[in-house]
């Protein structure tokens, strides 16, 4: 059952929904390329908007991206 406190959360994610979104597997497939692009100073989400959009929406994939970015910066 939807509660009053849920409304803002739900409506925000619904508003950001696009007809075409890539899945987690498709995002993972390109995550190394996206990360290297970001490291090289290119705005990766402009060059690979579907990956950027997925990372905005999926906390699981975003945490992998952030960890990979930190790891790549340090090694």
């Amino acid at each position: 059952m939807l509660k009053r406190d849920d409304v803002v959360k739900l409506v925000r994610v619904v508003a950001e929904t696009r007809d075409i979104e890539i899945s987690c597997d498709e995002c993972f497939e390109r995550l190394d390329i996206f990360t290297e692009m970001e490291l090289s100073g290119v705005k990766a989400s402009a060059a690979m908007p579907l990956v950027g959009d997925h990372l905005d929406k999926c906390a699981d994939c975003r945490s992998e991206f952030e960890a990979l970015l930190s790891a790549s910066r340090s090694t």
């Binding site: 849920d6 619904v14 995550l31 390329i33 290297e36 699981d60 960890a67």
Partner: protein, 204 residues
């Protein structure tokens, strides 16, 4: 560790004597895991070697899927992060079942309206809330409703909800995407714009 090109990594790992390359890759994965997962607390440090070992098996078993579009080590580290984070999420959420999550939610505070609201604002919020509940009930399947509540409203990781629903992360993302699309279309059809709803709930 000696520097290798992508081609050298592949040749060394596939060659007759892969031990040196395996050891170098392992060291690099451990360092990367420690650096990348620092924010997950001290326990990760002790597990980094186990995660790296498990990742090495996946990496060497999947060399054929490396297409050379990034550095080999970035590709390998990506797999190691996936192994590590999947396990860390599993541990963190180990004791939470979906039934518990839903039961706690139902028993919890039902979010009383802000007492500062005027009767008109409160009536408007109630109307919108009622309408949204109807859309969720009518548009979504039981599985979609469960996933929406667990992932989008309660913030449980998709991979963990997927495990409990007998599916995988990829399929559950798609199921949620379909659910969001249905709600979006229904809201559009009803002339209910997100901006208006957010304004009614004072978040515009």
């Amino acid at each position: 560790m000696r520097e290798r090109t992508n081609e050298q990594w592949l040749a060394d790992l596939r060659g007759p004597n892969p031990d040196e390359a395996l050891a170098d890759l392992y060291d690099q994965l451990v360092r990367g895991l420690r650096a990348g997962l620092r924010s997950y607390g001290g326990g990760v440090d002790a597990n980094a070697e186990d995660f790296a070992q498990e990742a090495l098996i996946k990496i060497t078993g999947n060399l054929g899927s490396f297409r050379g579009e990034s550095r080999f080590t970035t590709w390998a580290q990506k797999i190691a992060m996936n192994v590590a984070l999947t396990e860390l999420k599993r541990r963190r959420w180990r004791d939470v079942s979906l039934q518990d999550l839903f039961a706690r939610r139902e028993a919890g505070d039902r979010g009383p309206a802000d007492t500062q609201l005027t009767p008109e604002q409160l009536a408007l919020q109630n109307t919108v809330l009622h309408e949204l509940r109807r859309m969720v009930d009518e548009e979504l399947t039981d599985r979609q409703r469960e996933a929406v509540v667990a992932v989008l409203l309660e913030g449980m990781p998709i991979s963990e909800v997927a495990r409990r629903m007998g599916t995988n992360q990829n399929a559950l993302y798609k199921l949620l995407h379909d659910a969001r699309k249905k709600l979006k279309r229904r809201m559009e059809a009803a002339g209910l714009s997100p901006q208006e709803v957010l304004a009614v709930f004072d978040e515009g």
